[in-house]
């Protein structure tokens, strides 16, 4: 359901099997951000929950201070070599603004814990999508991937 409109970082259409029927944590990522070390915790989440029907989905985005300037190959190389990322990544997307990707049109309509919806605030904002495709939680960038609030939400969303 989610994958239908997505292209992977390799330029090929994202295989629907990678996401369908799983709980998905969608995260807009950047390689040159102070929050970039969150990749480590995201990869730990991936390893911890992958066999239980969960995946992280990384979404490179260059709209925040230009902190994701690289080519798809450079981004892939950085993620793989620096953080051993094994979760799927999309092509670079626009998450805010008039050319916002349709996935983010859905995601940003979802409020966070304070009831605030709207624009993605910064790199490493997180949205949890249920296996049925419903957006069920939103965590702002400062919420670490392994924060109890995130893992509790993942636990309750697993198929």
């Amino acid at each position: 359901m989610i994958a239908e409109a997505l292209t992977g970082i390799d330029g090929q259409r994202l295989d629907p099997a990678v996401l369908d029927g799983k709980a998905v944590l969608v995260v807009n990522v950047a390689s040159k951000c102070g929050l970039t070390p969150q990749y480590e915790a995201l990869e730990r989440l991936q390893k911890r929950y992958a066999d239980a029907g969960f995946t992280v989905l990384g979404v490179p985005c260059n709209q925040f201070a230009g902190q994701e300037p690289g080519t798809p190959e450079e981004i892939q190389q950085f993620c793989s070599a620096t953080y051993g990322v094994s979760f799927p990544m999309t092509e670079k997307l626009e998450v805010n603004g008039r050319h916002q990707h349709p996935l983010y049109q859905r995601l940003t309509a979802t409020p966070d814990a304070d009831g605030d919806a709207g624009e993605v605030e910064w790199n490493f904002e997180k949205f949890l999508i249920s296996p049925a495709g419903e957006v069920i939680a939103r965590f702002r960038p400062q919420v670490e991937p392994e924060d109890d609030r995130v893992t509790r939400a993942i636990d309750s969303a697993l198929p």
Binding site: A65, G66, Q67, P69, E94, R98
Partner: protein, 72 residues
């Protein structure tokens, strides 16, 4: 090449800035806080051309490409 700098608090709507990444933005919105921090501002271009956000310390300088009222 680095251009002129101005205080972050002196930026006005319509000013053209250059981020450290080299990306330029024409400011269409100034957020009074960034990450909830009163010591930080965020400059946003939300236009047909691009959506781009650049935070800055309130007491810091930013690189100015062109003033809003410039005729250059």
């Amino acid at each position: 090449m680095a251009g002129a700098t101005i205080k972050a608090t002196e930026v006005r709507l319509g000013d053209r800035l250059r981020a450290r990444s080299g990306t330029e933005l024409t400011v269409t919105r100034i957020d009074d806080r960034f990450f909830g921090r009163p010591d930080m501002l965020a400059f946003v271009e939300d236009s047909e051309q691009q959506w781009f956000k650049m935070p800055a310390p309130r007491d810091g300088d930013v690189e100015l490409v062109r003033r809003a009222d410039s005729t250059d």
